[in-house]
Symmetry: C2
Subunit: 209 residues, 2 copies
């Protein structure tokens, strides 16, 4: 009676599998409360093997952030600058969708980890700034500029501080993070904000609600 092998050798896939398991674990528990043993179990791997691929828990953490963040940002920033649709259409469509999806997305978790562990990992903060925050803000600025150039929008404070465009979405993320998605309707909050935003940007003055 031949037993099936107790494990397979899959050198190639291990790092990605471990990274994915680590992301889930960090998402649930936060960095400090996530045990390396948990990550290993989730990845279907022994603790020893994990330490073959990642020198320390901290290095594993950095790998997670890197692997999760970059792909998400590229897609959106590219879309924002393209001329495929009007700036207003982009705000009402893709941008609004993005904002509504934020609380449930991996980026929400990265934001949380940034707040939690950022002070102890300055290089990670730099990485996040360069690759996410800063690029996102630039994309928004470019979007508004495109709208102004095309005569859709007037010049407002939003050109200077695109932070104000994202702020409500970030707050929605925090509310769901802290209060476990019960005490505020994120979708309506985002919709209200988009209305206010576009009314403010509009060249034609106030429309009826």
């Amino acid at each position: 009676m031949s037993t099936s092998p107790r494990y397979q050798r899959r050198k190639e896939d291990r790092p990605a599998e471990i990274t994915a398991a680590a992301f889930e674990t960090f998402a649930e528990k936060g960095y400090a409360n996530a045990k390396v043993a948990d990550v290993a179990r989730r990845a279907g791997v022994s603790k020893g093997l994990l330490y073959v691929y990642f020198k320390t828990k901290e290095e594993l953490f950095k790998a997670v952030v890197r692997s999760v963040v970059i792909p998400r940002v590229n897609a959106l920033t590219e879309a924002a600058v393209s001329d495929a649709e009007s700036a207003e259409a982009f705000i009402r469509g893709p941008l609004r969708q993005f904002m509504k999806a934020l609380p449930g997305s991996p980026i929400a978790i990265v934001i949380k980890l940034m707040i939690t562990e950022g002070s102890r990992h300055p290089d990670l903060v730099d990485f996040y700034w360069d690759n996410v925050a800063s690029r996102g803000l630039d994309a928004l600025r470019a979007l508004i500029a495109r709208g102004v150039r095309g005569g859709e929008f007037r010049e407002t404070r939003y050109s200077e501080y695109p932070h104000l465009i994202m702020a409500p979405a970030v707050v929605a993320v925090l509310f769901e993070l802290i209060f476990k998605n019960q005490r505020v309707n994120s979708d309506e909050l985002i919709d209200s904000h988009i209305d206010i935003l576009l009314e403010n940007l509009s060249v034609s003055g106030r429309a009826e609600t």
Copy 2:
């Protein structure tokens, strides 16, 4: 040669002193990385004594949040509802000051702790919601309602979602928390937001910048 006593017995003052020291320590390190021994040393007290007054580290944490949060909230919410100044004046004055002060205030630290440890202390989250978030939002709603009633403001989405009023201030807090007050000018960001907000609320339509 008589030595001065090695310690004084000050039963009454100990809890408050320990709570204060704990707040500073949690602020610097976060809950998980703060050592009880550090708190004790900072309070000028032995670890054993700390455990006389607080059964566990967690209970100490709750005591900290309770003692820090309540006094701050009362002052502002009361001012918001009083008729001493017009709603617009209140927004341009005290509310704006409050927003600018937020990142450096204890509330910022409590927000961080809420994000970090909230999931493990549901009763604390409830406490925070009841005594801070919910009350703050109600006060803002009341403020806007007062403005509308007095003919200063028109009805807008802000009445429904006062979250949108605070959102930029919260984002400013996060930026300083994560990026250590270098990469955004919080004060100007708040000023810009207040301008946009009041323009939107104004019954008379758009004014010149």
